[in-house]
């Protein structure tokens, strides 16, 4: 059997980012004080006693997550001072090197005193200027300007948090840049997570003379999402959901207050998908995952349509009709399959119509792109629903770069979760969808003395 390693179980595939960089998207319209649904009935999470040891994968003793120290009074001045002594030297980066995309968050201090500026070494200054004065780096690096978090206080320093991404295959160029800009002279620590932290560790060391501090990506993800949610989005809500997702006229994106986040099912859709059940900030477990993720969508779209960018794939999908490609329940039963309560519009077999030559000839590339998107999204939604059911969790947060500028997928997830759970499950989304791992890495850095 030439099957090779195909029998390998897909137990743990790390989700990583799925997109390729391109244009900067418009700032998301933060729905003001729109109608806000009451949070769904929540089961007392203490009662269901999340399995002890569920977070066995998390190494070491967990530290408190760093809060926002804005508004420190003189009473807490001493504390800030002691923090100042412990806090790491600039620059502050958090790096998440995924299978497709590298996510970089950079904290730009805005409270630099003249004295400090005087002392600042040239290379540090040049990094700061380079990152903050550009929105694109090289041909593939992008700064998501609309995501920038302004006037954030971190470790007693005030500044802006920048969100930058570039394709993982440009990692060598990035390392080379680090060497050219003489990063190693800064004695900074690079906190990195994602599989690339392992894959590129040696390159960082030998080429850039940089020692990486490798971090578990799921730890970082959770830390990042909790932190970002707590600081909000420049005064607006970080978390949102869709009202009437199936109705393009009435569909509304509305803020959601994730004040009581636990328990939470976290679905991270990068190249692949990881699903985590989060019971508290340091008690979570990876429930499952699937290798059918953003990478599958984009990869298949490239093969099926010849598209070259994620944006292009999504744009094609927006103009296609998946029902020409997929075989629906009604294609088989003429209507609903009542015995098992399946509606006629449900997909019975993804790409099932493509078994037929005539139908293959009748579909457009746009239809194929749409079907690919629907297939991947439905599958993720279906697994997420089963996980939620199994874990007894009813709020499900979908994050990861698959969702970037991907309203079709988000609305489908929202609708599918609501429909199949008969209103029991709510799909939630977050503005900084793909950057939480990198934020988590940055937070880890700030605890390094």
């Amino acid at each position: 059997m030439g099957a090779g390693r195909l029998g390998a179980p897909m137990e743990r595939h790390w989700g990583v980012a799925a997109t390729s960089a391109s244009s900067v998207r418009e700032p998301a319209p933060g729905g003001p004080d729109g109608r806000r649904r009451e949070p769904l009935r929540r089961r007392a999470n203490s009662a269901s006693a999340p399995a002890v040891g569920a977070s066995a994968s998390a190494e070491g003793v967990r530290r408190d997550r760093p809060g926002s120290y804005s508004g420190a009074t003189s009473a807490s001045r001493q504390r800030v001072e002691s923090l100042r002594k412990k806090r790491p030297l600039f620059p502050w980066f958090g790096l998440d090197i995924g299978g497709t995309l590298v996510k970089l968050v950079y904290f730009e201090p805005k409270d630099i005193t003249a004295e400090e500026e005087e002392e600042e070494v040239e290379s540090l200054k040049s990094i700061r200027k380079y990152l903050t004065s550009n929105v694109a780096y090289g041909s593939t690096g992008i700064r998501d300007v609309h995501l920038e978090l302004k006037d954030l206080t971190l470790c007693g320093r005030k500044g802006n948090l920048h969100f930058i991404r570039f394709p993982t295959h440009d990692m060598p160029a990035f390392i080379q840049m680090g060497r050219d800009k003489n990063f190693s002279s800064l004695h900074t620590v690079f906190c990195a997570t994602g599989g690339g932290a392992y894959k590129f560790e040696q390159d960082f060391l030998t080429i850039g003379d940089l020692q990486l501090c490798k971090l578990d990506e799921l730890d970082c993800l959770i830390k990042g999402i909790l932190y970002i949610d707590s600081v909000g989005f420049n005064g607006r809500s970080q978390c949102y959901y869709f009202e009437n997702p199936a109705d393009s006229e009435k569909c509304q994106k509305l803020p959601f207050d994730l004040r009581n986040p636990y328990p939470l099912l976290l679905v991270n859709i990068g190249s692949g998908v990881s699903i985590l059940a989060v019971y508290s900030k340091d008690n979570y477990k990876r429930v499952t995952g699937t290798s059918l993720g953003g990478g599958t969508f984009f990869g298949l779209c490239c093969l099926l349509t010849g598209c070259t960018t994620f944006e292009e794939a999504l744009e094609m999908a927006s103009r296609g009709d998946s029902t020409k490609v997929d075989k629906l329940v009604r294609d088989i039963y003429g209507g609903d399959y009542e015995r098992f309560g399946l509606p006629g519009w449900a997909v019975a077999s993804s790409f099932g119509n493509m078994m037929s030559k005539e139908k293959r000839e009748a579909v457009s590339k746009e239809d194929l792109a749409r079907a690919t998107l629907i297939t991947i999204t439905n599958n993720i939604g279906s697994i997420a629903r089963m996980c939620a059911l199994n874990e007894n969790i009813n709020q499900v947060v979908f994050v990861g770069n698959f969702l970037r500028i991907n309203t079709i997928a988000m609305r489908l997830l929202a609708y599918a979760l609501d429909y199949w759970s008969k209103g029991q499950l709510k799909a939630l989304f977050s503005e900084h969808e793909g950057y939480f791992g990198a934020v988590g890495a940055l937070l880890e850095l700030l605890k390094i003395p």
Binding site: M1, G2, A3, G4, R5, L6, G7, A8, P9, M10, E11, H13, W14, V16, S20, G195, G196, Y198, K199, E201, G270, G272, V287, T288, G289, S291, L292, G295, T296, G299, C302, K327, L328, I332, Y333, G334, R339, F340, G341, P343, A346, V347, A348, S349, S350, F351, G352, M354, M355, K357, K359, R360, T375, N378, N379, S382, I383, M386, A416, W420
Partner: protein, 774 residues
């Protein structure tokens, strides 16, 4: 609804293949007697089932009319044998590609003569599409059945009646297929049906089942995507293409993301992190085609475990549906009946996947359709002669290289006269495995036994021809038998798991099935007749000499008699050579051949000690060979037990196998002995000695499939001793069987290879007396 079955091959651009010439001897056997039909037309494959009757010859034995005492001359046989025609019921299952449906329907129409039915039960998506064609061709009304109900009922039926149906696939282990022994209670189990889409059903009882989930990513997705991404448009060819591809060229693996460091994480670098994740950057030239197909082919296994991690708990709370629905058209995608799935951990569940069809996977729908009218009141048995094995259409074989008939998968099941049940005395029916050695596991033993059966084939053929001296075509049929069995053996050499777990028993049973298939119902009938005649004449002499012994010597002599009798076994090559060359080989010579005590396995002293205690209430004895064995070995032993006050149930095979004594022969033998011996006579009259049939026609013994009447009697009489005699029943099978009562397993090892393996020599003796722990 015209497009409902749109997945059919017709729409995949292939016109119906009408040119195919069907080999009727092989494909639609027994069609002329077909009584009922059912058909399941999936997206690519049609599965046809029919309930038919088979007429075969059976050898019947009958006592002579004893009114004329003079006929009992020395040279006269003890009873007469007549060959009669018997009609039995058989289920036939044929699976073929939809392409051939019209040709097949034409063929059926031409050969359909006897059927009285007016309807054909149909299921599957294609039942709609081909409804008119079927009705027109066959002149039968198409009666549609719910596809899931059919699937589940059919699955239940197969799991119950074919012990080695479900298997675990473990990649890289040897053998890769490990069959689970199904026991009568198969519930609950989780059924994952992978057709065009995927359905997951929890089956709790015969009638209670619940759809708990599914996925739209199934066989149709593989086929559809495969057709889009490669130049290959046919399902089988896609599978073949996939078997040559390298998915790692397309999929992003953990090691692609983590570099070489995945070990430190306790991850296998080979895990797929993102399916098709490399396609965005890879050169998508034509060279990638096979890899792409593979990527596609593996979607079901690659994707499903994610879902299947959940079932144990989904089963408790799960209901409702999926965004991804399903249809139930059947493909050759992986599917597996999984026994007790909720009890298995996720790790086990994942291993249960394999990319190719399990045995008979496509036939499950159909059994039920037929059984709708034919309730589960019978037991059925797979006919090895008429069934194609597990991998008959392996995707590794390029479809174009396969012989045409290779695209037809066959399964035949014979209806047994009466239902089969567990022996009530089994200590733990759920863990009972009849066979001692798993030849799929033990390559050395497998090689030996396959060779052994090959070498014995000439003799069997000769014996078969000799058994029908009056028949003009005996030689021709015997030759066909040789070919058929030889082919089975060759298949098993290459695919040991083709018919389930390979065992000495399955090899023996297959041979019997093949002999029956070519109308050699009982090649040893004349040999048995003669042996019985000779032995009957010695009976009284043996009894006299036994009675002359003191109690203790007599007990040993009885056991030695049992063992010596057991030497007379035409199934053992070492012995059949002796018997063939020296027809006068006698009971006394056999005793001399026996190993001296201490025997290879020797708990005789314990047995003797036991005999000094109170008598057993009732002994159940499974007899082995005709002639000396049963008459001079078993009956004196039975007589002694009866004299002690122990009732005896003597269980013999329902049908012939080698020279094993059959139930009907045992009746005559007992009658003849009763005429000579008052002890046997009165015991028979008073119902203290009961002759029963086992329900089996095998030289081996499966204690989980015994005639229900026997099981009932065993319970009623409170049997507290089980005696199993002979290599087939006590060594090849049941050697490790644990019973709730005392048991005696005895045999003479008439095979030097096996003797050596057990640490002894030819004619070593096994005398295993076991008492269950308190």
């Amino acid at each position: 609804m015209a497009e409902c079955g749109g997945s059919g091959s017709g729409s995949s651009g292939d016109s119906l293949d009408k040119s195919i010439t069907l080999p009727p001897d092989e494909i639609f056997r027994n069609l002329e007697n077909a009584k009922r039909f059912a058909i399941d037309i999936g997206g690519s494959l049609t599965k046809l089932a029919y309930y038919s009757t088979v007429q075969h010859k059976v050898a019947r034995v009958r006592s002579f009319d004893h009114s004329d005492k003079d006929t009992e001359q020395d040279h006269e046989p003890p009873y007469e044998i007549s060959v009669q025609e018997e009609v039995t019921a058989r289920l036939h299952f044929v699976k073929f590609e939809n392409t051939y449906i019209e040709a097949c329907l034409d063929f059926i129409k031409d050969h359909l003569v006897n059927t009285e039915t007016k309807v054909i039960q149909a299921t599957g998506g294609g039942a709609y599409k081909f409804k008119d064609l079927i009705e027109e061709k066959l002149q039968l009304k198409v009666d549609k059945e719910d596809v899931m109900t059919c699937l589940i009922k059919g699955c239940n039926f197969v799991l119950k009646n074919i012990p080695h149906e479900a298997f675990v696939y473990q990649k890289g282990s040897n053998p890769e297929f490990r069959f689970q022994t199904n026991h009568p209670s198969v519930f609950p189990y989780l059924l994952v049906s992978i057709g065009s889409g995927v359905s997951i059903v929890k089956v709790e009882t015969e009638d209670r089942f619940e759809w708990i989930g599914g996925s739209s990513i199934g066989g149709g997705t593989f086929w559809g995507l495969g057709a889009l991404l490669t130049k290959t448009k046919k399902f089988d060819e896609l599978l073949h293409l996939a078997s040559r591809g390298q998915h790692t060229n397309v999929d992003m693996l953990v090691q692609d993301i983590y570099g070489g460091a995945h070990q430190t994480l306790g991850l296998s670098g080979n895990l797929i992190a993102s399916s098709f994740g490399k396609s965005a950057t890879a050169d998508t030239g034509t060279g990638l085609s096979p890899a792409l197909a593979l990527g596609g082919a593996w979607r079901p296994p690659g994707r499903l475990p994610s879902v299947l991690l959940l079932p144990p708990r989904v089963l408790q709370g799960g209901h409702g549906q999926e965004p991804a629905a399903h249809d139930q058209q059947r493909h050759r995608a992986a599917r597996l009946p999984v026994r007790q799935a909720p009890l298995l951990g996720p790790g086990v569940l994942r291993r249960l996947f394999h990319p190719r069809p399990p045995r008979h996977h496509a036939h499950h729908h159909l059994q039920h359709q037929l059984l709708l009218q034919d309730p589960n009141q019978y037991s059925w048995e797979e006919n090895y002669a008429g069934s194609s094995g597990l991998m008959s259409s392996s995707p590794e074989l390029c479809p174009t290289q396969r012989p045409r008939s290779g695209t037809f998968d066959l399964l035949e099941m014979d209806r047994l006269e009466r239902p089969l049940v567990n022996l009530p005395l089994l200590l733990d029916p759920s863990s009972y495995v009849p066979d001692t050695v798993d030849l799929t596991d033990d390559a050395l033993a497998r090689k030996y036994w396959l060779t052994c059966f090959e070498e014995a084939l000439d003799g069997v053929v000769k014996r078969a021809v000799a058994s029908q001296p009056g028949s003009v075509d005996a030689a021709e049929r015997a030759e066909k038998f040789r070919q058929k069995y030889w082919n089975k053996l060759q298949t098993l050499r290459h695919q040991p798991f083709a018919y389930g777990t390979l065992t000495v028993r399955s090899l023996l049973d297959t041979r019997e099935h093949c002999l029956n298939e070519f109308n050699f119902p009982d090649p040893y009938s004349k040999v048995k007749q003669k042996d019985n005649g000779v032995a009957l004449k010695c009976f009284q002499r043996v009894i006299h000499s036994l009675d002359a012994l003191g109690w203790e010597e007599r007990q040993l002599a009885l056991v030695k008699g049992l063992l010596a009798g057991n030497v007379f076994d035409w199934g053992a090559k070492a012995v059949s050579d002796v018997l063939e060359s020296d027809p006068q080989f006698g009971f006394e010579e056999a005793k001399r051949k026996l190993q001296e005590r201490p025997w290879l396995v020797d708990s005789y002293s314990k047995w003797l000690q036991r005999l000094k205690g109170p008598p057993h209430k009732c002994a159940l004895i499974f007899a082995d060979n005709s002639g000396v064995d049963v008459i001079l070995g078993v009956f004196p032993f039975v007589r002694e037990l009866l004299s002690r006050g122990t009732e005896v149930i003597l269980a013999c095979n329902s049908g012939p196998a080698l020279n094993d004594v059959t139930y009907s022969e045992s009746l005559i033998v007992a009658e003849r002995i009763a005429a000579m011996d008052p002890v046997i006579r009165s015991a028979l009259r008073e119902g203290r000695l009961l002759l029963m049939q086992t329900g089996s026609s095998s030289p081996c013994l499966d204690l989980s499939r015994l005639d229900k009447g026997l099981a009932v009697l065993v319970r009623e009489r409170g049997a507290d001793l089980v005696v199993i005699e002979g290599m087939g029943r006590a060594v090849h099978t049941n050697y490790h069987a644990a019973l709730r009562c005392e048991s005696l397993k005895l045999a003479v090892i008439k095979n030097s290879w096996l003797a050596e393996r057990l640490g002894g020599r030819l004619f070593s003796v096994i005398f295993k007396y076991e008492v269950p722990a308190e």
